[in-house]
């Protein structure tokens, strides 16, 4: 069996492949990475485990977690894939805030002399193991808003025309990578899982304000229900958590107004 040592020190010998190679003069920072772990086959509830490890200021947190997983604690479980903030796999609560581990650099978490970093699973979704949560309720909400383009007219031979300004209307909302950072930072969603959540509303916005789409009314109706936009209490956690810098609260407010004007 692989040797597992906890706590551990690293990492001049073993350096993860993903970690950018250190120019020699960049110092390694000593870190205490506190992870809220949970193994459904052994634990009743989560337990904090601290890993002592070294990393460079420019390393991504995902590099640090990979390092722990690959060389010290292979059972540490979390999702990740692209490593640069485009696939939306690695949303977690880092130092008390939702972020993507791959878009968070060590130097933004600790001071120049190292320090402690806490990592927890995102909230409001069932923890399956360690930092990995059940995403199904999140995607259920996504599917509930009819997240697909609808235009029943026969398509023209070429493209449907759309002005640059109309295309720009979708610039923010279409940028979403469904990472769930927003929905799981929302204080309403934590306590009320039936709220569709900011991510689903952003997706609805994407179609509601698409000049080519014809199902605006149906989507606004979905947004108008008890589980829709009206549950949002403008807490802004979503906007602050979004790794794609989508002004989510603004978009939600636009949808609220659109529902209002539709019904008026």
């Amino acid at each position: 069996m692989t040797q597992i040592q906890t706590p551990v020190t690293s990492s001049s010998v073993v350096q993860s492949g993903a970690t950018p190679l250190a120019p020699a003069d960049v110092p390694m920072l000593p870190l205490k990475v506190k992870v809220l772990r949970f193994n459904p086959e052994q634990d009743k509830k989560g337990r904090w485990v601290t890993y002592d490890i070294e990393a460079q200021p420019g390393d991504r947190l995902v590099d640090v977690l990979n390092e722990i997983k690959w060389y010290h604690e292979p059972s540490l479980t979390f999702r990740r894939s692209c490593q640069h903030g485009i696939c939306g796999s690695d949303a977690m609560m880092i130092n008390g805030r939702n972020r993507l581990a791959c878009k968070t650099l060590v130097r933004d978490l600790v001071k120049g002399s190292g320090g402690e970093i806490t990592v927890e699973p995102i909230r409001g979704l069932k923890v399956e193991r360690d930092l990995l949560v059940d995403m199904e309720p999140f995607f259920d909400a996504y599917r509930a808003i009819m997240p697909y383009f609808i235009n029943e007219d026969p398509a023209p031979a070429g493209e449907r025309l759309q002005s640059e300004a109309q295309a720009e209307r979708m610039a923010h909302s279409s940028n979403c990578i469904l990472c769930a950072c927003c929905t799981t930072s929302c204080p309403i969603f934590w306590v009320n899982g039936s709220y569709l959540g900011p991510a689903a509303i952003v997706q609805a916005h994407r179609f509601i304000f698409d000049s080519r789409d014809q199902a605006t009314q149906q989507r606004l109706n979905i947004m108008n229900q008890n589980t829709g936009v009206w549950r949002c209490r403008t807490a802004y956690n979503c906007t602050e958590a979004c790794p794609r810098e989508i002004p989510i609260t603004s978009l939600i407010e636009e949808v609220k107004r659109a529902v209002m004007f539709q019904q008026a």
Partner: protein, 125 residues
Amino acid sequence: MIKARTLSDARQQSHSNAELNWWIFMRISGLILVFLVLGHIYMTFIQVSEADATYVAVVNKLSNPAWKFYDWLILALALLHGANGARYSIEDYVRTRPDRAWIKGTFYTVIALLFAFGTVGLFSL
């Protein structure tokens, strides 16, 4: 509310404007309440002491129909506004169905009784 998991669930649930109307009501009543409540507080708490709100003082003040109406407006708007606000909280925090129904039922009854009590109080004087 049940969560809309499919399109047909969603459609079924989407025919009511209740939430929208409450949302608008919260804003309009809030706007009005700013003047009413802050005015009320200023007049009854800052200008005079709480200790001045004796039986006689209250009865005196309320003999004027304008004050009657003013206070009744606060009573109605604030109770409705507050009750609906509390409903938001109940729906958010109480997630099991039978509990929620009980709590809401009891709460609305209390609010209704208070409203009746207050109204009778205002207009019986």
